[in-house]
Amino acid sequence: MMTAKTTQKIAFVLLGLGTLLLVVVPILLTILYILVNGGSAMTWEFLSQPPRNGMKEGGILPAIVGTVVLILGTMLFALPLGILSAVYLVEYAKDNFFTRLIKLSVVNLSGIPSIVYGLFGLTLFVGFCRFGTSILSGALTLAIMSLPVVITATKEALESVPQAFREVSFSLGATRWQTVRYCVLPYAIPGILTGTVLSLSRAAGETAPILFTVAAFYLPRLPHSVYDQVMALPYHLYVISTQVPNMPLKLSFATGFVLIAIVFLMNIASVFLRAHYRKKKTW
């Protein structure tokens, strides 16, 4: 007969070991595997040159530029729309059927598979709106996909501003918009930024939504307008690891390295933003 104390010890050790071996170790190994193999193949030429010889030589500059352009485009559409929607939900909406419908829509948008966003972008932006396979179509598709994350993050940031701020503002005769503009938004900006950068880092790593809306298989020049196709890092990694025979493995690793580096840098930036603003918080 085991005592309750012994059972507890065994259970906690097993939980700890399980977490270490099945969660912590695989995560660390995955990252190290890409960073070590990719890092050793990294050269300045790889970052600054277009691909050559059927992508088997040269660099990935057009794909890096394409991904950065897509991130900026996504930000341009998703940020205003997402922030305004969250302001509506937190500051304006009454608790009625319509509001619940919006909340439910946001939940459902966040659950739609990325490939379905790809299909939607293909029929609406590429086909119906006649934007063609272009940066514009891709950025719009990614923006709608990022919308739920931006809205959720902004909502949380707005809700964390103390209610007293609004009450004081109203009592001084400010209108609702003045209250939001001067007494709520300034204090919610850090939370909004953190969440937004995170959502953009997700968008940067997505492949399925850009497959048919913007991504170019091989396009060794830089884009001139929003109606151009571009190469993008995630799609490039997919292409060179499945569609190009005899691809030198070190170029694939190096591409994965650059993609992970961009995504992680954005994540680290959001962590620092959060820490920086938290120090300044005075209430």
């Binding site: 309750a4 969660v23 595997y33 302001v87 919006i102 790809g118 939607f120 694939s252």
Partner: protein
């Protein structure tokens, strides 16, 4: 007066954005529906839903989605069986056992995992996990359902861990105190009190994890072998609903029967994930009460 006008304008924009969120869901559904219904003008819905052959370029073409549905089921079931015990166990450890400093480290590590792009995991599946499974299990190919399940289980971990951890941490303090007061150990409290009390939240986490696994595209397209046939087991090459759309849309001629069939597959995916999210949302709501 000028202030008034600008205020009316900006408040109009704010309301419009709220409406747009609803309209996007409706638009996505309608645009999928429009192109999906175009298929059923010339192809019977019964043959689409229950047909056991997916041969889009044969003459005549067959668009039966049964092999794809079974492929998705195999991969999803495999992934869920692997990741639910691991994820809930890790959440239990993080929420109730780990000291504060370790808790912070583990949580950020899980966030890092969530940030890794799926195409990178797919790449690792191709160059390492697939070949590794092939030699250790003696398979004819490493590009099979199991490889996809393992990677998808890995990808679903962050969702399951963070939501389950929130649910455990959200159990009212009084539950803990009452259990300790009756002389229960921390493990007994965790296993018999906290886990059942947090079950709605954990179920929501698992549902969202399932939604993520069914919808994931790149990993399954890269590592499950892309064979649109009914697989005999999870150790054989197969193809999921998502991978079919992603791999064939590039070649399908716009406006052809094949093109519409892929939209019909997209519509099925939309409906499945819609229902899963509805259930998850309901159990989250229940958990908060």
């Amino acid at each position: 007066m000028r202030r008034k006008l600008s205020e009316i304008f900006i408040e109009g924009c704010i309301r419009l954005s709220g409406v747009l969120c609803i309209s996007f869901v409706v638009l996505i559904f309608l645009f999928l529906l429009k192109d999906a219904l175009a298929l059923f003008g010339g192809y019977s819905a019964g043959k689409f839903l229950f047909g056991s052959q997916w041969l889009p370029v044969s003459e005549p073409p067959h668009f039966g989605i049964v092999p794809l549905v079974i492929g998705s089921l195999y991969v999803t079931l495999g992934a869920i069986l692997i990741c639910v015990p691991i994820g809930v166990g890790a959440a239990m450890f993080i929420a109730e056992v780990a000291p504060q400093s370790l808790k912070t480290i583990l949580k950020s590590l899980v966030e890092i995992l969530a940030a890794i792009p799926s195409v990178v995991l797919g790449f690792i599946g191709i160059v390492w996990l697939g070949p590794f499974l092939k030699t250790t299990l003696g398979l004819s190919t490493g590009m099979c359902g199991l490889t996809g399940s393992l990677l998808l289980a890995f990808m679903a971990l962050p969702t399951i861990i963070s939501i389950s951890e929130d649910a455990l941490a959200g159990v009212p303090k009084a539950y803990r105190e009452a259990a300790f007061g009756l002389g229960a150990t921390r493990w007994q409290t965790l296993w018999r009190i906290l886990l059942p009390a947090a079950s709605s939240g954990i179920i929501a986490g698992v549902m969202l994890g399932i939604g993520r696994v069914i919808g994931e595209t790149m990993v399954v397209m890269m590592v499950t072998g892309n064979a649109p046939v009914i697989p005999a087991s999870i150790l054989q090459p197969l193809r999921t609903l998502t991978a079919t759309v992603a791999s064939e849309m590039g070649e399908a001629v716009s406006g052809s029967e094949h093109y519409f069939a892929l939209f019909a597959v997209g519509l099925i995916l939309f409906i499945i994930t819609f229902l899963i999210n509805l259930v998850a949302d309901m159990s989250l709501r229940k958990a908060r009460r």
